[in-house]
C-alpha cells in the first residue's frame, strides 16, 4: 500500500517536472534510469555482474537510428525493433556468459562488449567516431509529433513506466522468486532441481532487451546514436549509478541515474569540467565506503531499524 502511494507521488512529480526543468534533460535521466533498472535486474536480483551492458544500450540506439534515417518506420516500431535486436544480442551474450561465474562472468561480458564496440567502430553505417547524426524523432503512431520536446518527454516517460513495470513484475513473479533463490544459494537451487543457467539466461535476455529499449529511446531524444553508448565507460557508469543508488532496490538505480546524469550535466558545463571524472570518482568512493548498500538501500535499512 505504502509503495503504491510512493509510486503515485513520484508519478505526479514526473508529470509536472518538465514545467520546471528542461524536458530533454529529464528525458535523458529517464533513459539512463531505465538502463540502470535493467542492469539492476541482473546484478540486484540474479547476482550477475555484467560488464558489457553498453553493448545493448548502443545496439538499441544504432538499430533505431538506422531505421529512423533509412526507412519510413514510425518511432514506436523503430524502438521495438531496436529492443528486439538488443534482446537477440543479449541471448548470444547470455548463452556464453552464464556458464561462468563471478569475475569470469564479468570478463566474458566485457570481452563480448568490446567485440561489439569494434564492430560499430568499423561498420560503415555507424559513421564511426562521428556517430549516426540527424536521427529524426518522427511522430508516434503518425499522430504525435515528437519534435516538440514536451511530447518527446511524455513519450519517454510512458516507455520508462512500461519498462519499470515489467522489471517490477519480473522481480515479483514466480520467475523472480527462483532468481532470488539462485542469488541467495545457487548450489541449493541446483540441488532442488532448478537448471539455474536457463533462469540466468532468461534474466539476461530481459535485462539486455530493456537496456536496448533505453538506448533506442535515447537515440530519438538526442537525434544521435554514437560510440559513447557502446564504450566500456558506459558499462562502468551503469554499475556506478546502480551502486550509488542502491543495488537490489527498485528505486535505487533511478536515483543513482538521476544523480550521475545531473552531476555530469552541471559539472561539464562549469569551470569544474576538467575535474568531472575526479569528482565522480570521489563521490563513488565515499558512497561505497560510507553506505555500501547505496542511498536507497541505506534508507530502507534505517527505516527497518527505527520504525
Amino acid at each position: 500500500m505504502n509503495d503504491t502511494k510512493l509510486n503515485l507521488i513520484l508519478l505526479a512529480i514526473a508529470l509536472v517536472a518538465p514545467t520546471i526543468f528542461y524536458p530533454v534533460f529529464l528525458a535523458k535521466i529517464l533513459c539512463f534510469a531505465l538502463f540502470a533498472c535493467a542492469f539492476n535486474l541482473l546484478l540486484g536480483y540474479a547476482g550477475l555482474l555484467s560488464f558489457g551492458h553498453a553493448a545493448f544500450l548502443g545496439t538499441g540506439g544504432y538499430v533505431t537510428g538506422y531505421l529512423m534515417i533509412n526507412t519510413g518506420l514510425s518511432p514506436e516500431l523503430a524502438i521495438i525493433l531496436g529492443m528486439i535486436a538488443g534482446g537477440m544480442l543479449g541471448a548470444i551474450f547470455g548463452k556464453l556468459a552464464v556458464k561462468r561465474e563471478g569475475i569470469y562472468f564479468a570478463m566474458v561480458t566485457l570481452a563480448l562488449a568490446q567485440l561489439v564496440f569494434f564492430f560499430y567502430l568499423q561498420a560503415p553505417f555507424t559513421n564511426g567516431e562521428d556517430g549516426m547524426q540527424g536521427v529524426p524523432r518522427g511522430a508516434v503512431f503518425g499522430l504525435v509529433d515528437l519534435t516538440n520536446n514536451f511530447a518527446m518527454y511524455y513519450f519517454v516517460l510512458a516507455i520508462f513506466i512500461l519498462g519499470y513495470w515489467l522489471i517490477n513484475r519480473t522481480v515479483h513473479s514466480p520467475f523472480g522468486q527462483v532468481l532470488k533463490a539462485i542469488r541467495e544459494n545457487e548450489d541449493r537451487a541446483i540441488s532442488l532441481g532448478y537448471e539455474v543457467n536457463r533462469y540466468k539466461w532468461v534474466a539476461f535476455i530481459i535485462s539486455a532487451a530493456l537496456a536496448s529499449l533505453a538506448g533506442s529511446t535515447k537515440a530519438l531524444v538526442f537525434n544521435l546514436a554514437s560510440l559513447t553508448d557502446v564504450h566500456w565507460h558506459m558499462s562502468g557508469e551503469v554499475i556506478l549509478m546502480t551502486l550509488v543508488g542502491g543495488v537490489g532496490t527498485m528505486l535505487g538505480p533511478i536515483l543513482g541515474a538521476g544523480l550521475v546524469v545531473t552531476m555530469q550535466n552541471y559539472l561539464s558545463g562549469g569551470e569544474l569540467g576538467n575535474y568531472i571524472h575526479i569528482i565522480m570518482g570521489i563521490v563513488f568512493v565515499v558512497c561505497v565506503l560510507s553506505f555500501r548498500s547505496g542511498i536507497v538501500g541505506q534508507f530502507l535499512k534505517f527505516k527497518r531499524n527505527n520504525f
Binding site: 513473479s173 514466480p174 520467475f175 532470488k180 548450489d187 532442488l192 532441481g193
Partner: protein, 266 residues
C-alpha cells in the same frame, strides 16, 4: 545377486575421483538398500563429502558408474539428478537466507508447478502453495516462524527448514551431509528425531561425525578411510572392528568402553 539388485536404490561400481594425482575416492562400491538409513562415516579427509558430491554430480567421477533404481546416472547434470528424486543437503545449512521461511519451502514446491519461467505473472499465483508449505513447516515444528526472514533463525531451526524444503520435493532418496554438524546438544536431539521421523517410506544416506547419532539412526554403516571402504555393517559390527578404532583413534589398544572412546574422537 540378480534378485537382490531391485532392493538397492543406489549402487556405485568402482567409483573413483582423482584430483591431479591425488586420489580422493578410490574404487568405492556402495550399495544402498531401499528404506534404509545408511550412514557414511570415517575420519577427516576420508573422502565422505567427495563421495556425496560425486553421487549428486556436483563433481564428475574420474571413473566408475552410479546407478539409481538400476538406471545409469553417471553422466547426468546435478539438476537432473534432483528431478529424478535424489535430493541432497549440504554441510553448511543450505537455506535461502534473505527469503522468508515460508518462501524457502515454496521455492521447492514451485518447481513442479511449471510456472517457474513466468516472469509476467504476479507472485501471488504462488499463494496456492502456501497451505502445503505451512503443513511442511508444521512437520518440522517451524509453523510459528513462517514469516521470519530465514537469516534470523537459529542454526538448528535452519537445518530443520532445510529438511522441510527437501521433503517438499518428496524425494525417494535423501542425502544428508553432516546434518548435526556444529550443533548444540539440544539441537542434535531435535534433528535426530526429525530424521527418524522423515525416514519412513524413504531411503536416507547420511554423512555423520557424531557416532551417537549414527548408532541411533543407521541401519547400515559404511566406513571410509583414505578414499576407500574400510568396512561395512551394522553399528555393533563396525564399532567393534579394530581397524575402525585404529582409524579413529590412531591406535588399536584395548578399551572396554568402545562407544564413548569413539565418540570422543568424533
Amino acid at each position: 545377486m540378480t534378485h537382490a539388485k531391485q532392493d538397492y536404490i543406489l549402487e556405485t561400481e568402482q567409483l573413483t575421483k582423482s584430483f591431479k594425482g591425488f586420489t580422493a575416492v578410490s574404487s568405492v562400491n556402495l550399495n544402498i538398500k531401499r528404506g534404509h538409513i545408511h550412514a557414511l562415516i570415517g575420519p577427516n579427509g576420508a573422502g565422505k563429502t567427495t563421495v556425496f558430491n560425486l553421487l549428486t554430480k556436483f563433481l564428475r567421477p574420474t571413473s566408475g558408474t552410479i546407478r539409481f533404481n538400476g538406471e545409469d546416472i553417471t553422466r547426468l547434470e546435478p539438476a537432473a539428478i534432483a528431478r529424478k528424486g535424489v535430493i541432497r543437503s549440504f554441510q553448511i545449512s543450505a537455506v535461502f537466507p534473505h527469503l522468508t521461511v515460508l518462501e524457502n519451502v515454496r521455492i521447492a514446491l514451485q518447481r513442479k508447478e511449471g510456472t517457474s519461467f513466468h516472469f509476467w505473472k504476479h507472485e501471488s499465483v504462488l499463494n496456492t502453495l502456501n497451505q502445503k508449505a505451512q503443513e511442511l513447516l508444521k512437520s518440522v515444528g517451524l509453523e510459528r516462524f513462517a514469516d521470519t526472514i530465514t537469516v534470523d533463525l537459529s542454526y538448528g531451526r535452519k537445518r530443520a527448514l532445510e529438511i522441510a524444503t527437501t521433503l517438499a520435493l518428496e524425494p525417494e532418496l535423501m542425502l544428508l551431509d553432516e546434518p548435526t554438524q556444529g550443533m548444540g546438544h539440544e539441537d542434535v536431539g531435535l534433528v535426530t528425531d526429525l530424521i527418524q521421523q522423515v525416514s519412513e517410506n524413504r531411503t536416507i544416506l547420511m554423512v555423520e561425525h557424531n557416532l551417537h547419532v549414527v548408532s541411533q539412526l543407521a541401519d547400515r554403516i559404511t566406513v571410509l578411510q583414505r578414499g576407500a571402504i574400510l568396512t561395512e555393517g551394522d553399528y555393533a559390527t563396525v564399532s567393534s572392528d579394530p581397524e575402525v578404532r585404529e582409524a579413529y583413534l590412531g591406535t588399536s589398544d584395548e578399551n572396554q568402553d568402545q562407544h564413548s572412546s569413539v565418540e570422543v574422537a568424533s
